[in-house]
């Protein structure tokens, strides 16, 4: 484990209902770095994001998660959020009857440096909505209810920009979006990096979204294991060859055992 890492996942094994999903996973992200986590469907990428965020559905069987110098393996997820972690959900939820603006207000309540007075809050949120090409009428709508896939993802980006976490995991925030929405999300990432020099862990299938980002590290996950780690040059390679060779390799290693 590199000592200067902001986020350090060490030898992490995690399971759900007795079924192990993540096997001995390691990940180190330094402040300001951008990492990419790739892999075929069902590899365990979302699980990884959820376990780092502290989703109680999953059990951590082994290993530790350290964030900003503290062991957070046992910390509840609201405290992880307040410590500066953020997860943009692959499938954001719907909360009927709760206006988006009230929800946003609650997310910043009691956060030093982020809590704002009503007027200031409304101005800030409108500003961010405009930045993300979102109709401000959405702020009065019930969280997620009747939102399209793209709108839900924009709401995730809006929270990212509002909360300015030290590290954000973006779980397929770009998938299923049309070209316009994609460029909005991409602008959102830039804005986040520019505003607070936060770290990013981007889970994606779409290498195009990465084109104008400086990627520091690429991790490939197959079958709940990190099977390859390299610099940004791995991205065009995967673009061309896909994950098949990794999968074959992983199957081979499994056979040998």
């Amino acid at each position: 484990m590199s000592t200067d890492a902001l986020l350090s996942v060490a030898n992490l094994t995690a399971s759900v209902d007795e079924k192990t999903i993540l096997h001995n996973v390691n990940l180190n992200v330094r402040a300001g770095e951008t990492h990419v986590l790739m892999g075929p469907n069902g590899a365990g990428k979302s699980t990884m994001g959820h376990v780092i965020m502290g989703d109680p559905v999953y059990t951590v069987n082994e290993g530790t998660i350290t964030f900003d110098g503290a062991d957070i393996t046992e910390l509840s997820c609201d405290k992880r959020s307040r410590a500066g972690l953020f997860l943009s959900f692959q499938a954001p939820v719907e909360i009927p009857g709760v206006p988006l603006s009230s929800f946003l207000r609650a997310t910043i309540a009691g956060r030093p440096g982020l809590e704002m007075k009503g007027k200031e809050f409304r101005r800030r949120v409108k500003e961010l909505a405009a930045q993300l090409d979102m109709d401000t009428a959405y702020l009065n709508r019930e969280l997620g209810v009747g939102f399209s896939g793209g709108e839900k993802k924009k709401v995730e980006m809006l929270q990212l920009l509002l909360l300015q976490p030290k590290l954000a995991i973006l779980d397929e925030t770009d998938s299923g979006l049309d070209v316009d929405a994609l460029s909005v999300v991409s602008r959102g990432m830039d804005a986040y990096r520019a505003s607070c020099d936060g770290s990013l862990v981007i889970i994606t299938h779409n290498t195009r979204i990465l084109e104008h980002l400086t990627v520091d590290r690429v991790h490939v996950m197959v079958g709940g294991r990190i099977v390859r780690e390299d610099d940004a040059s791995l991205i065009p390679w995967i673009d061309e060859h896909g994950f098949e060779s990794f999968e074959r390799e992983a199957a081979g290693t499994a056979d040998e055992r």
Binding site: V57, R82, F86, V93, V98
Partner: protein
């Protein structure tokens, strides 16, 4: 509206109070007798017909059995019913004897000092006089009568109208507690809205001084004449506390042709209360009744607002929420009689149960042979916050007309872990996350309430949710 509340130390009690002489009641603590009822009537200086009505109701009361189909009311001492009937002057608690949980709730809801003692039934010294009188002035300039029903009974013009309508929608034969109400009713509001008059702000009974304390057997009579429009709000979200733990009020609403009445209630009785309240509305041709109802508190509740759609194309809608926590068994519901052609009714309810609380929602739709072309939809959504709690829906339909369209749907759910995780991942605590979801669930009701009531209701839910985890 601004909530101006003033301390009125020296209020003329005689206006509102009927000055019991306590001695007269000391010897009577067995059954409810004609003498007691006569005495109540005499002290109010009522017309003979009202006394006769009370005595007839008493007879019916003594004959009728207790309800056995709902939650148990065994905790009510029916053999000593007179202890519940004694005038409030006698029952008044002193502040020290008000239970701590009630005091705490006042504190947490930010209820002003003056109001607390009023709500706790300790004193009637306080009133939101200013607000009430402004409201009354404006209304009376429009020809609206808004007064205490006992006062109205002393005006010949209103006496005639009260006599014509009083307990015709809820006859004493309806059930045992309706009969009890007929015999011992005391206090309550009288509202008369003349033809074509539309009031654009709600009348709020909360602001009406009622020396009968928190109101145990109050009678509300509202008449909205043809083409008129009224929004009436009763209640408040702070717990009402009575030493005698029985509430058997009655609400009778008469909605004229093309008239509209919205009747909003937030009821929050202290948790020792047996709330056996009866509410009914009757709509003439194209008249419309809207019930908005939030039921909180009380130990046992029987509460089923009913609409009788008597005129062609008349309408009823009911939007309600019930929250049953530990030790509470709240049996609520809505009844609609589709009694004329082309009537429509919607019933939309939300039930929340927690900490072993039980909430049951009964809906009853009756279509008489005259109801051809009518339609009704009933939708019940329940949210159970833990495994010990219970939620039930009991729909009943009795359709005797052709071409009637009835829909019913009921869902029982729990708060999804994925939703909790999502909110918590944004730094929101678990308790806050649950409260937020429950408030969202209640939103269809709170958004129908004026802002200050909606805020109070949300705060109330927040209080009820405290300690909901674990």
């Amino acid at each position: 509206m601004a909530k101006q509340r003033t301390e009125v130390a020296d209020i003329d009690r005689s206006l509102y109070d009927f000055r019991y002489d306590e001695e007269g009641f000391e010897r009577l603590d067995a059954g409810l007798t004609p003498e007691i009822v006569t005495e109540i009537s005499q002290r109010k200086d009522e017309p003979q017909w009202m006394l006769d009505f009370r005595l007839k109701s008493l007879e019916i009361y003594n004959r009728m059995p207790n309800p056995t189909w709902g939650p148990s009311i065994a905790g009510l001492d029916m053999d000593h019913i007179v202890t519940y009937v004694k005038p409030n002057t006698d029952q008044k608690a002193d502040w020290d004897s008000v239970p701590d949980d009630i005091k705490n709730t006042f504190e947490r809801l930010g209820i002003p000092e003056a109001e607390r003692s009023y709500l706790a039934g300790v004193g009637a010294q306080y009133d939101s006089e200013l607000v009430y009188h402004n409201m009354q002035d404006t209304a009376s300039k429009m020809g609206i009568v808004y007064s205490g029903i006992e006062e109205a009974l002393h005006e010949p013009k209103w006496e005639a109208i009260i006599r014509e309508k009083f307990m015709t929608l809820i006859p004493p034969t309806d059930h045992k507690f309706a009969a009890l109400h007929g015999a011992v009713w005391s206090g309550g509001s009288f509202v008369y809205v003349p033809k074509g008059v539309k009031l654009d702000f709600p009348l709020q009974s909360y602001f009406r001084l009622n020396a009968a304390g928190a109101g145990q057997f109050e009678h509300t009579l509202i008449i909205v004449e043809d083409d008129a429009d009224l929004h009436f709000i009763e209640g408040c979200s702070a717990p009402k506390y009575n030493v005698a733990n029985l509430h058997a009020g009655a609400v009778e609403l008469f909605v004229g042709k093309r008239a509209h009445l919205r009747y909003s209630t937030i009821e929050n009785w202290s948790k020792n209360m047996y709330n056996l309240n009866t509410k009914r509305a009757r709509c003439d041709e194209e008249g419309e009744i809207e019930w908005i109802s939030g039921s909180f508190g009380s130990h046992v509740g029987y509460l089923y607002p009913m609409s009788v759609l008597a005129g062609r194309k008349s309408k009823s809608s009911f939007t309600g929420i019930t929250f049953a926590g530990a030790g509470q068994n709240l049996d609520t519901g809505c009844k609609v009689v589709l009694g004329a052609p082309e009537t429509t009714a919607t019933v939309e309810t939300k039930g929340i149960s927690k900490g072993g609380g039980i909430q049951t929602f009964r809906s009853s739709i009756v279509a008489t042979p005259a109801a051809e072309g009518s339609a009704a939809t009933v939708s019940c959504q329940s949210l159970m916050l833990d495994d010990e709690s219970r939620s039930d829906t009991i729909p009943s339909m009795d359709i005797r007309a052709k071409n009637v369209d009835i829909g019913h749907e009921a869902t029982i759910g729990r708060i999804g872990d994925d939703k909790i995780f999502y909110l918590m991942s944004r730094g929101i605590s678990e308790e806050e996350a649950r409260t937020m979801i429950v408030n969202g669930f209640a939103n269809p009701v709170s958004k129908e309430l004026p802002l200050e009531y909606a805020v109070e209701m949300n705060n109330l839910i927040k209080l009820e949710m405290e300690g909901a985890i674990g």
